[in-house]
């Protein structure tokens, strides 16, 4: 059985579809060797079956149903509830001509870019990279604090942040010594971006500290001896090793942040619609207004936006991978 060679230092390449054992074997023209461990395709399918079944029934099916509702004028109550009509693309036309949709899309992109792609990614990486130099105990304390923010339930952290940013007696104002700044009213987007960075950094930190352990210490040492600056080391030595992780991480936190409802518990989407990000817009449509058809259409459009982002990431990181 031909054993496909594999570089241990590129663990996440499967994400980009390259260099994983199965595919290598396949492209090498050895159809016999679909797998290296003798699992067999039939058994493999059997292994995948339970998950696929659960996903199919509890995810795919409601998803298709939601999309179907998006093509109707179904509402939670009223005449359109009793006799819903299939209206095909009416909801989509309505959503796409609704300024609040674009407002929420724009806010969501800002939210994702600053709190996830830059905030969580950057801070998470910085923590993973620089805390390696700290004493083990100190490192554990820092990590635990970051993790705590991630573990606590969202309804709890909402209260914590309201208390933090309160205009009267809030911790932040008390620290800065300038009472009276209503952070949630004057800088609502900044507030939820900082909040979400706080909330989600742990995931990136954990992922990157695992990824960094795959960078061979010898290469780092060589870079140091060659007198490379920190930036050069990161770019030339570290990044090539963790590119796949960057993609995985950015993709996951983007998707989660895009559909995150957490800020609603802090700002309620306000003031006005200043923080009405996609998940809040969807909630207001589905729960507050009861327009289920409309919210079904929004779901699909959000899905499309997510697909676009995912494809953009794949393209960006894959191209460099093959170069």
């Amino acid at each position: 059985m031909p054993v496909p060679s594999r570089r241990d230092d590129a663990p996440a390449t499967a994400v980009t579809g390259h260099a994983d054992p199965g595919e290598a074997a396949f492209s090498a023209g050895a159809p016999r060797a679909v797998d290296s461990v003798g699992l067999g395709r039939a058994r493999a399918l059997l292994f995948v079956a339970p998950a696929l079944l659960l996903i199919g029934v509890f995810l795919l099916f409601p998803a298709l149903w939601t999309l179907y509702i998006g093509a109707t004028n179904f509402e939670r109550t009223g005449p359109n509830h009793v006799n819903p009509q299939v209206t095909w693309f009416d909801n989509y036309v309505d959503v796409l001509t609704d300024p609040s949709f674009y407002n929420s899309l724009w806010l969501t992109l800002l939210f994702v870019l600053f709190s996830a792609v830059i905030g969580q990614n950057g801070l998470g990486f910085w923590l993973a990279w620089s805390t390696r130099r700290l004493h083990r105990r100190v490192r554990r304390v820092v990590e635990s604090l970051v993790l705590l923010a991630w573990i606590l339930p969202s309804s709890v952290v909402a209260f914590l942040w309201i208390a933090m940013l309160d205009q009267r007696g809030g911790t932040l104002d008390a620290l800065l010594g300038n009472p009276g700044t209503a952070w949630l009213v004057e800088y609502p987007m900044v507030a939820i971006i900082v909040f979400n960075t706080w909330r989600g950094t742990a995931f990136s930190m954990m992922l990157y500290s695992a990824a960094l352990s795959s960078v061979p210490p010898s290469q780092l040492e060589t870079a140091r001896l060659a007198g490379a600056t920190g930036g050069q080391t990161l770019r030339d030595v570290v990044f090539p090793h963790i590119r796949g992780h960057v993609l995985t991480n950015t993709l996951l936190i983007t998707l989660w942040t895009f559909n995150d409802f957490g800020p609603f518990l802090i700002t309620g989407g306000g003031p006005g619609d200043d923080t009405e990000i996609a998940a809040v817009y969807l909630y207001n449509t589905a729960i507050r207004d009861g327009d289920l058809g409309y919210s079904g259409a929004i779901s699909l459009l959000i899905l499309v936006a997510n697909v676009v982002l995912a494809l953009a990431y794949l393209r960006m990181l894959r191209r460099r991978d093959s170069s």
């Binding site: 395709r41 009223g78 509830h81 009793v82 309201i162 003031p271 207004d289």
Partner: protein, 482 residues
């Protein structure tokens, strides 16, 4: 699967299968369930009327230890054992259960909708009076006359104790859908300490809007640190803006939000109300940030309790559950001495709705019977028992509040001058919201208009914006302008 030769054939087949099954299930189920609310099918009112054993469930947005804890305690510890005892004396075995909920009203409403849609749900359901029309239009509930029969309904002697206006709160299109469970009223609460410090009379009853604004100006001049008048506005506090801000003022300007089949659009009365908002938030009589932040209402309560707010337009809920020294969320030890209350005046005397000098708005819940109940007659019996004078008295024994029954009010409110004031002076001149389907959307338009003013728009601009929002949710022909 072993038979497959081509790599991937079986998995492709599996996926296609999943997809096809999924799609066909979607069409089958969607066709059956999307419109599941269905027709009003109350069924035979006398079904199972002679059962010697029956089970009934009551649900309410109340839970022991949480939201509306007293309501839940009353049902579990009084209503259920008492009713079961009475039935046992008649030789009937009654099993009554309570399904407590106790979450945000919007979530409660969602879950009720899902239950009623699928023909499930409790037999007796507590809903906000403002949902009655919406639920009726959706086929979730049916007129009492249909569910339990005209004779049985009209035979109840309790109706005579419930004022006509309060009964309206559980009715739709002239038909009773349930029994109201109590009511409330809106007044202006003011802090007597603040008034005293500003040199204002502590026994205060304004007779025009001008007098309210003047009092606010005085407080602003004498006590610059105090917010003189916090008038509910904006979207963050939702219905509180409409009920404890816009609508009482609108009534004072002589208009009802919905009258003669028309909604108030960009009218003189609406502009007058928005001008008050402009004055309050444009000249520093109120704090606009409190109306913008998500927890602004909680905060304004806390500030009032701390003597930092002069006046608040609120319902008696504020007295019972917010500044109540025993169990309020912003308790005031000296509530009875410090918190004053005054009726809401019309713009000028006699200019209110129906030529009134003073106005108010009221709301309240209703208990309806699930049209799908297996035991309509028994459910009606239980509902009557829950609304009997005796049970109602027991309900408010712990903490008095205004009930739907005049006889009970006369007895239980005597110890609380504030609630007596509401029951005797405010409820007779109050208005209820229109229980119409579109109301929810109109209310949101109102909240957005007041929010625009808080953010700096003029009353005229906000009124135009309101008109435009209104045109999106109701027919242009159903909007009054001018």
């Amino acid at each position: 699967m072993r038979g497959s030769i081509r790599p991937g054939a079986s998995s492709r087949r599996a996926r296609t299968f999943t997809l096809v099954t999924g799609l066909s299930m979607v069409s089958v189920l969607a066709a059956g369930c999307l419109g599941g609310g269905g027709e009003e099918s109350a069924g035979d009112p006398d079904r199972n009327a002679d059962a010697t054993e029956f089970t009934l469930t009551i649900t309410s947005n109340a839970i022991k230890g949480g939201k509306n804890s007293e309501g839940a305690t009353w049902i579990e510890d009084y209503v259920i054992p008492e009713f079961e005892r009475i039935q046992a004396e008649k030789g009937v075995t009654a099993n009554v259960e309570f399904a407590p909920v106790g979450v945000d009203d919007a979530d409660y409403k969602s879950s009720l909708g899902l239950d009623l849609e699928t023909g499930k749900g409790a037999d007796i359901i507590d809903i906000d009076g403002i949902w009655v029309g919406e639920f009726a239009e959706s086929g979730f509930i049916a007129p009492l006359d249909d569910v339990v029969g005209v004779e049985a309904v009209s035979a109840w002697d309790g109706w005579g104790q419930i004022q006509e206006s309060v009964q309206q709160n559980a009715s739709y299109n002239g038909e009773r859908y349930g029994v109201p469970t109590g009511t409330d009223g809106r007044v202006i609460f003011y802090n007597k300490d603040v008034f005293e410090a500003a040199g204002l009379p502590t026994d205060w009853q304004p007779t025009s809007w001008q007098e309210i604004l003047e009092a606010a100006e005085t407080i602003k001049a004498e006590s610059p640190d105090v917010i003189p008048l916090q008038l509910n506005a904006g979207t963050a506090m939702g219905e509180a803006t409409t009920m404890q801000g816009f609508l009482p003022l609108l009534a004072g300007a002589g208009a009802e939000i919905h009258a003669d089949d028309k909604w108030q659009g960009d009218t003189e009365a609406v502009r007058q109300v928005l001008e008050v908002y402009e004055t309050v938030y444009g000249t520093g009589l109120g704090d606009p940030t409190l109306q913008q932040e998500a927890k602004g209402r909680d905060r304004s309560f806390q500030l009032f309790a701390e003597g930092e707010v002069g006046m608040l337009l609120e319902s008696d809920y504020f007295w019972r559950s917010v500044v109540n020294p025993d169990q309020g969320v912003a308790p005031m030890e000296n509530r009875d001495e410090v918190v004053g209350y005054a009726k809401i005046p019309a713009v000028t005397p006699g200019a209110g709705v129906g030529g009134q000098d003073f106005v108010s708005m009221s709301g309240g819940s209703a208990r309806v019977i699930n049209p799908n109940t297996e035991y309509p007659q028994q459910a009606w019996e239980l509902l009557q028992f829950m609304n009997s004078a005796e049970a109602t008295k027991e309900q408010v024994a712990g903490s008095p509040r205004i009930t739907h029954r005049d006889d009970v009010n006369a007895e239980v409110l005597s110890g609380d001058p504030m609630l007596t004031f509401i029951a005797e002076e405010v409820v007779p001149l109050t208005l209820f919201r229109p229980g119409r389907l579109e109301y929810v959307d109109v209310s949101i338009a109102v909240q957005e208009a007041t929010y625009a003013v808080v953010e700096g728009a003029t009353a005229a601009e906000a009124a135009q914006q309101y008109q435009a929002a209104l045109e999106d949710v109701v027919d242009a022909g159903a909007i009054a302008t001018g």
